[in-house]
């Protein structure tokens, strides 16, 4: 049975280097200062006004900081972790894709919990509804045997384990050294209209660069897929 050989040697090395770099950056910051990375936690939201009638019209997904939110967070956080593990462990590519679907879905629920509904919906439509389908479609079109399995050699497994350990150490260091704010910052004041306005004014250049990149990819794909004459 012929399995197409994967050649991830360079990729693994590159990932390894990136992970190490991230790690060094993380650990070198003795006292993490969020101002440095261009991110500021918004001030703690004022305690909920006691007599806001909109509380019952809008019916938020959950009351911030309440028991419901904690329950949902642990439920979907757990789903995310388990399904992410499933992506790594399963051998069948289509099963991996299914696990990945649950990972992406759980992540989008977490965005919804944070009040970032637009991000959550976009996550669902782009990754779960678009990329994943293309992924499965690609597997179906290119596979020669009914069950595509991903078997990787020992050396690559060892390299991947190394990368994982280094990344884990880095993340653990970050986790223990950071002084976290008491409550998670909610995405506030972000209606879709404001979001769009920001995207087309303040962040116009990155937005356009991303579109041009996608256009280039599209043209390249059309060029590759074109019939040879």
């Amino acid at each position: 049975m012929h399995h197409p050989r994967q050649r991830p040697g360079k990729t693994v090395l590159l990932t390894f280097a990136l992970a190490a770099l991230t790690c060094v950056t993380m650990t070198s910051a003795q006292e993490p200062d969020f101002g440095d990375v261009g991110f500021e936690f918004p001030p703690e939201p004022p305690p909920q006004a006691a007599d806001t009638p909109t509380e019952f019209d809008g019916v938020p997904l959950s009351i911030p900081g309440g028991a419901t939110e904690a329950l949902l967070f642990y439920l979907f956080g757990g789903t995310l972790l388990v399904s992410a593990l499933g992506v790594c462990i399963s051998r069948s590519v289509v099963r991996m894709a299914t696990w990945l679907f649950f990972t992406l879905g759980a992540a989008s629920v977490l965005y919804f919990l944070l009040g970032a509904a637009f991000l959550g919906a976009i996550q669902l439509i782009v990754y779960a509804g678009g990329t994943l389908i293309l992924l499965v479609f690609g597997v179906m079109l290119t596979s020669k045997s009914p069950w595509v399995r991903y078997d990787c050699p020992r050396t690559e497994m060892a390299a991947a384990a190394g990368v994982a350990i280094v990344l884990f150490a880095g993340l653990l260091t970050l986790l223990t050294r950071t002084v976290w704010p008491g409550t998670a910052p909610m995405a506030r004041g972000g209606t879709v209209a404001e979001f769009g306005k920001e995207l087309l004014t303040t962040y116009l250049v990155p937005f356009e660069v991303a579109s041009v990149l996608l256009l280039v990819v599209m043209i390249a794909a059309a060029y590759l897929a074109r019939q040879d004459r």
Binding site: F56, V59, A67, I125, P146
Partner: protein
């Protein structure tokens, strides 16, 4: 009907076991109780069931509203963390709120009103309503589809089960499907095979959670409702693809691949067509988009400009492809692929795919209605209803004549009918023709429409001469099309004996 003699040995009383048997037995009992009545008075029971449902749903809605008024009017502070027990309202306050409004039987109603103040209770009630709706819609759409298919092909369709025009055919099918063996092929990827129907069905339910049936008739008023529903329609496809793949059957994989390529390509013109109403109104919230069309027939977005008119058509075609309805039903084309992606499925899992398909048909029709065809507003402008006031009968009149979920559902059901009609009229096209139609026809057309609409919004002032002229011309075209259709339908009904022969004289209703 006399007992027919059959060549095989008559079976004893059917014995089922397990939960399926309980469901089937319960359904059989209910059926045995109700079927004779329905056989005797079909029309009256159908009318009263529809009327009763409307009144019951409306009563719930009014209850919610009264609670809102009572909660806002109460002098108590509403804590952010209202637990399950000990909410802001007591029974006594609920009673006083009811007496203030002047409701009858306040002493009894206050006990109903008390639990409704909790979000959880409301959510459960609303989710139950949505689940019920999703169960009823496929049940009756399938029956209806079979009847319409019969008429189009000069047959009668289901006529036996329940007595009156086979009204309970779908229910009988449902019982059969529940009792059927749950097969899983030996070579299949078992976990994925079992998961796939749920991956198709659950997103279809979730789409309803963001779909408004009226200005205040929505489970969750999401800011991003449109994107959310589109995402759910996209995820439903994943279920179909995985079903085809996990079956380990050539035909199923062909069906799944066709579905994937069809869906991925048609999502592009569909999404671009949906951008047009968003550009007109400037929001992704379906409730807001619907509410801008309250000014009667001419204010519907479809008649706003030539480009919105064309975009509505493009969206409708793309939506047919996205819920794999004919002429785009290649994923399950029975003439070539046996049954496509659901070849290997049986029993309840198989029926879940159909629940998902018919629910998705309703959702895409609902999107079309909200975005282009005046949402929950009737062709009469809402302004005319201003003099009616806020009393209960006035609101009922307003709900029936001007704006309400009834109008939304009626329009959606009409569009469902059009989908059925097209399915039994048009031949299925080939997969290369499907992709040609999308990528080389619909997509460039949609790009032109998008560009044209951008300039139209930019250059033609709203309410100016050109704008009004186009609006009036398009509204007239729409009205003429609608009246023409009604005319053709009436003509067909009038001449049914000449058109379908004795069938129309003996079996069809009203003959």
């Amino acid at each position: 009907m006399t007992q027919m003699s059959v060549p095989w040995r008559p079976r004893g009383k059917a014995k089922f076991d397990g939960p399926a048997g309980m469901v089937a037995g319960g359904a059989k009992t209910v059926f045995a109780i109700f079927a004779p009545f329905v056989r005797a008075f079909p029309g009256a029971i159908m009318l009263s069931a529809v009327f009763g449902t409307i009144v019951a749903v409306w009563a719930h809605y009014l209850l919610f509203e009264v609670v809102d008024i009572a909660l806002i009017g109460s002098t108590f502070n509403i804590p952010a963390n209202t637990g399950l027990l000990g909410g802001p309202l007591t029974v006594e306050e609920a009673r006083s709120a009811l007496t203030q409004i002047g409701a009858p039987a306040a002493g009894f109603l206050c006990y109903l009103l008390y639990p409704v103040q909790y979000g959880l209770v409301r959510d459960l009630v609303a989710a139950g309503g949505i689940l019920g709706f999703i169960s009823v819609i496929p049940l009756y759409t399938i029956w209806w589809e079979r009847k319409v298919a019969g008429r189009i092909q000069s047959r009668t369709g289901p006529m036996r089960v329940g007595g009156w025009h086979g009204w309970s055919q779908s229910m009988a099918d449902g019982i059969k499907l529940i009792c059927k063996e749950d097969l899983c092929p030996a070579g299949a990827d078992k976990p994925l095979f079992k998961l796939a129907p749920y991956l198709a069905f659950v997103p279809a339910i979730l789409a309803f959670f963001a779909l408004p049936f009226g200005t205040y008739w929505v489970f969750r008023q999401l800011d991003v409702a449109l994107v959310f529903i589109l995402a759910m329609l996209g995820i439903e496809v994943l279920g179909v693809i995985i079903a085809g793949w996990a079956s380990n059957n050539k035909w199923s994989v062909y069906g799944a691949m066709r579905e994937a390529c069809q869906m991925v390509s048609y999502e592009i013109p569909m999404g671009m067509a949906l951008l047009i109403p968003i550009m007109c109104v400037g929001t992704l919230s379906l409730t807001t988009i619907g509410d801008t069309q309250s000014g009667g027939w001419t204010s519907w977005i479809v008649f706003r400009s030539p480009f919105t008119f064309a975009a509505a058509l493009v969206y409708y075609i793309a939506s047919l492809a996205s819920c794999k309805r004919a002429p785009f039903d290649l994923p399950e084309s029975e003439s070539e692929l046996v049954a496509g992606f659901h070849t290997e499925y049986s029993g309840f899992r198989w029926s879940l795919f159909f629940f998902a398909e018919y629910a998705a048909m309703f959702v895409v029709s609902g999107l079309l209605v909200i975005l282009f065809f005046g949402a929950w507003y009737s062709p009469l402008p809402l302004l005319w209803a201003d003099g009616l006031g806020e009393s209960l009968p006035a609101r009922a009149v307003k709900g029936v004549l001007f704006a309400g979920p009834i109008w939304f559902i009626a329009k959606c059901v009409f569009l469902l009918y059009v989908q059925i009609w097209l399915r039994w009229t048009l031949p299925r096209i080939r997969i290369d023709q499907v992709l040609y139609a999308c990528i080389q026809v619909l997509l460039p057309l949609m790009m032109l429409i998008l560009l044209g609409h951008t300039f139209y919004e930019l250059l033609v002032p709203v309410g100016g001469v050109v704008w009004t002229l186009f609006n009036l011309i398009l509204s007239t075209i729409g009205a003429v099309l609608m009246i023409g259709m009604l005319f053709v339908a009436t003509y067909g009904c009038w001449n049914r004996v000449r058109l379908v022969g004795n069938l129309g004289r003996e079996l069809l209703p009203g003959s």
